[in-house]
Amino acid sequence: MGGAARGTTDGSAAIVVEQLERVYPGGLKAVDGVNLEVAAGEIYGFLGPNGAGKSTTVRILTTLLRPTGGRASVAGYDLVREAPQVRRSIGVALQEAALDPLMTGRELLALQGALHGLKRAEARLRATELLERVDLVAAADRLLGTYSGGMRRRLDLAMALVHRPSVLFLDEPTTGLDPVSRATLWQELKALNDDGTTIFLTTQYLEEAEQLADRVGIIDHGRLVAEGTPQELGRLVGEPGIYVKLVDESQTELARGLLAVHGAVSDRRAGGLTIRTALGARAIAPIVRTLDEGRIELDAVEVEEPTLDDVFLAVTGHPAEEEPQDSAQ
């Protein structure tokens, strides 16, 4: 069972990656010298647009792909020399919830149990436990072809948990899910983490990383370009912005001109303007005064903390949703 993982019993890191590199035949460098460390019991968010190298990194860390350079250990085991031990210690849910549509949820969980060395009766018992945990008891004996996207994702997560892994790898676990299914899955991941499971999570959703991750790494063009807690990364952007919502939107351009003396003004948020100044929240009073003197009536004023969107833009020079041309996945 994965709970006995070497690296998580002595307080050391659950995942250690040093100068990891993967060059595909043809010369494309999908992962380019990545270094990172994930502590046992941590949720690590691995963030980046499509083609940035997220999935390639996960495939390497789950032993599905060999690195062409560098080294890594997971749960205390070397990724290349001790691959079977790594596989015993990890749970994996890859993109798109690859499940066989001609099997039932219960059958798939029992198969996963057998793959992880459980005897028939143990595997059946564990399948029942997990079906209850992910609220799929009623659908347990239906073919997977009849499951919704959210149900498939929950089953995918349950399959990754069959052998009680100490480290869980989730590759874009909520991509394509509706907000309710996404929130349900987040709750389950938080509960798992509360039980001590280390989670390595890739996502394109900045909100997901902010909600779940203790620390976040941002990858772009195969390189780790920033790393830290969401708050630390927020500080890379600078002081928070001030958002002002106007009563009369036709005065927006007038307000923009007046507020330019305080700092950079943008209209990225609908219905108002955001002003970034070196003063941060202390700029509220002068901003309100300026608008008052210009006879522009205010509906609301808010301090706007930097988001990971801002961080991504600040460290990569392009927005998170922009897809690089040399997509590597």
Binding site: L64, V92, M103, L111
Partner: protein
């Protein structure tokens, strides 16, 4: 590895192979796309060949086997097992393209077990095919002098040839990872079948076909089936058939394991 650990490991891998074989069987039996070619198509060909070309039995040199259907059913079984092997390859390519294979690879199992699970599942399909096709042949008037013993040997030969075909299908699927390529291999099953004495005795094939048949291991398997069914060494060698089938299983499974290793190292 200690003796205990080795035994425990072998027991675990045994459970893995059985679980994967069960899955292979379930999926094949639940999908008409897999089931129809493996079971229905050979029966249709049996009906067509038995009724349309039975005059071949009048040719000089054709062995005395009672009804013509009794002679050709061995070819039908061979066709079924080849198609079951192709379906196994298609199912594996489908797993690779759909991502399910990655799930199997991320589990702590021997790579060979992933191949052997698929092969075992297909061998059981081969055994079921043999029982079904022989039953239909009996209903169509065949009479087998070899009795139950002969039938059991044919079931074993069918299971082995289905295993060999599954090993070959798995090899191609693992090397290419392409579902569409696997689906396009369908005609090659008939090339293999018609370059073996599936529906005519080897002596009655034209010289070119006969020389190809001499090199085709399926020739020895199909003739071994006939020898067992009719208890007649003149029709072939049971041991030759068993040797050819077992050798093909070893060769194709070794190729599939090699293809698997190449794939995961890439």
């Amino acid at each position: 590895m200690s003796e205990f650990a080795l035994e425990r490991d072998l027991a675990t891998q045994g459970r893995v192979i059985v679980a994967l074989a069960q899955r292979a069987l379930r999926v094949q039996l639940r999908r008409a796309q897999f089931l129809l070619p493996s079971f229905l198509l050979p029966l249709l060909l049996l009906a067509v060949v038995a009724s349309g070309t039975s005059a071949a039995q009048q040719l000089p040199g054709f062995p005395a086997t009672g009804s013509y259907v009794g002679f050709v059913v061995s070819g039908t079984i061979m066709q079924g097992t080849l198609l079951a092997g192709l379906m196994a390859g298609i199912a594996m390519a489908s797993d690779i393209e759909g991502g399910f294979f990655d799930r199997l690879l991320s589990a702590p199992v021997h790579r060979a077990s992933l191949v052997l699970g698929r092969v075992l599942g297909t061998s059981l399909i081969g055994a079921v095919q043999a029982v079904l096709f022989l039953s239909v042949a009996l209903l169509m008037g065949a009479d087998f002098d070899g009795g139950i013993g002969g039938v059991l040997i044919v079931i074993v030969l069918a299971a082995l040839s289905a295993s060999a075909a599954a090993g070959l299908g798995a090899t191609i699927a693992l090397r290419t990872g392409s579902l569409s390529l696997m689906q396009n291999l369908f005609p090659f099953v008939f090339v293999l079948l018609f370059t073996a004495p599936a529906f005519l005795p080897r002596a009655l094939l034209n010289p070119m076909l006969k020389s190809i048949a001499d090199w085709n291991p399926l020739s020895y398997v199909v003739e071994g089936m006939r020898a067992a069914l009719f208890d007649s060494p003149a029709l072939g060698s049971v041991w030759g058939g068993l040797l050819a089938a077992a050798g093909s299983v070893l060769l194709t499974c070794a190729l599939a394991v090699w293809a698997m290793r190449s794939r995961v190292k890439a």
